[in-house]
Symmetry: C2
Subunit: 210 residues, 2 copies
């Protein structure tokens, strides 16, 4: 199939939304845990997590301007801290269900059946069921001018990963940790490692890292 | 394993780079095709592709401030157009090899053994071997203040996808198209679909989309 710009504009909304959301490739889907001023925990699924920098360690999250995700953004603005929890196949349906529009006095943890876990000094909830958990502190927020999307940047304060998933050189094998990936608005995939490849150099063939 | 902020800062550079690059989750890896003013084609692997919006259809690409990727950014600034080509397992090693620091008068297509293909009116190369190809026009560029990373935004001008990968509702099954995903700086994974899930609603259980 081939679609031109004008053909894409003429598609019905649902078709276009599915098409354009899936064509960007696989995504780093995760659950973001926050808490509001009244102490109600919030949990929401996000699929646009970016690597911003390693030193200091920073991740970015892209927030749509007009969505249910706003509870998460408001909570982060109030509290300053949030958690990113990777998703495993064992609870992907509960993770997806957090995207329903629960009112702000209902905790998605309770609504979908996941367990809030408070393991650091800060009062934001991790997802107990998750194997890879990150505590972040909000350090910047920037509006993407072209459509009002908001890029929130968090500094990593704490990383929790299974011992068995980490290599001698710091690489985390997300397949070993059971982390899944998503595509489009509603599709979830598990992964199978092909290989790690050596740092590419001109005039040297790529080799597999064992 | 558990790493605090200060422990992360004290890791050696390579370990920290691998750790923080892999903890953000699976990525939408692809090849970006461009051409410079002298007519030399360029091909480079990128792993930070974002969905910006569906109407009009826009994708974003994050460029590190100080990297080999700069040839791609310079070419897009000169020419205005570029292609995004998803990667299949059959040529992932060639795709990885494009990250070597070839001089600007050498085409990575020739250096790594991939085939430039000119299928639209514009003079930027697609990757003939790729199953999912996108032509984009640069429409905006924005500096991410916190570390000088550049977010380039492209409007989709043309989409080419295999007939067999597209559903009635516009969803593209990237597994059927053979698209792979990456993690960290050098790991490549194939995928296996778990399920698509229905639009989540409060008080309704999630169902599988068949």
């Amino acid at each position: 199939m081939q679609y031109s710009f004008s053909e894409i504009l003429n598609l019905n909304d649902r078709f276009r939304r599915n098409l354009i959301n899936s064509v960007s490739g696989f995504k780093s889907v995760c659950l973001i845990g926050t808490v509001n001023n009244s102490g109600t925990t919030n949990l929401a699924i996000f699929s646009q997590i970016l690597h911003i920098g390693a030193n200091p360690p920073m991740l970015g999250i892209l927030f749509r301007p007009d969505s249910v995700e706003r509870h998460t953004l408001e909570n982060i603005r109030q509290n300053g801290y949030f958690t990113i929890n990777q998703i495993q196949e064992s609870f992907y349906q509960q993770a997806h269900q957090t995207s329903a529009r629960y009112p702000s006095n209902i905790s998605e943890f309770e609504a979908v059946g996941l367990t809030p876990e408070f393991i650091m000094d800060v009062d934001v909830p991790f997802v107990k069921e998750s194997e890879v958990k990150i505590l972040l502190k909000s350090v910047d927020e920037q509006v993407i001018k072209i459509n009002g999307t908001i890029l929130l940047i968090g500094e990593i304060q704490e990383l929790i990963i299974p011992d068995t998933s980490i290599s001698d050189d710091g690489f985390i094998d997300l397949q070993k940790a059971g982390t899944i990936t998503s595509a489009g608005l509603d599709a979830y995939y598990k992964t199978e490692k092909i290989n790690r490849l050596s740092y590419a150099k001109v005039d040297l063939p790529v080799t597999v890292i064992l």
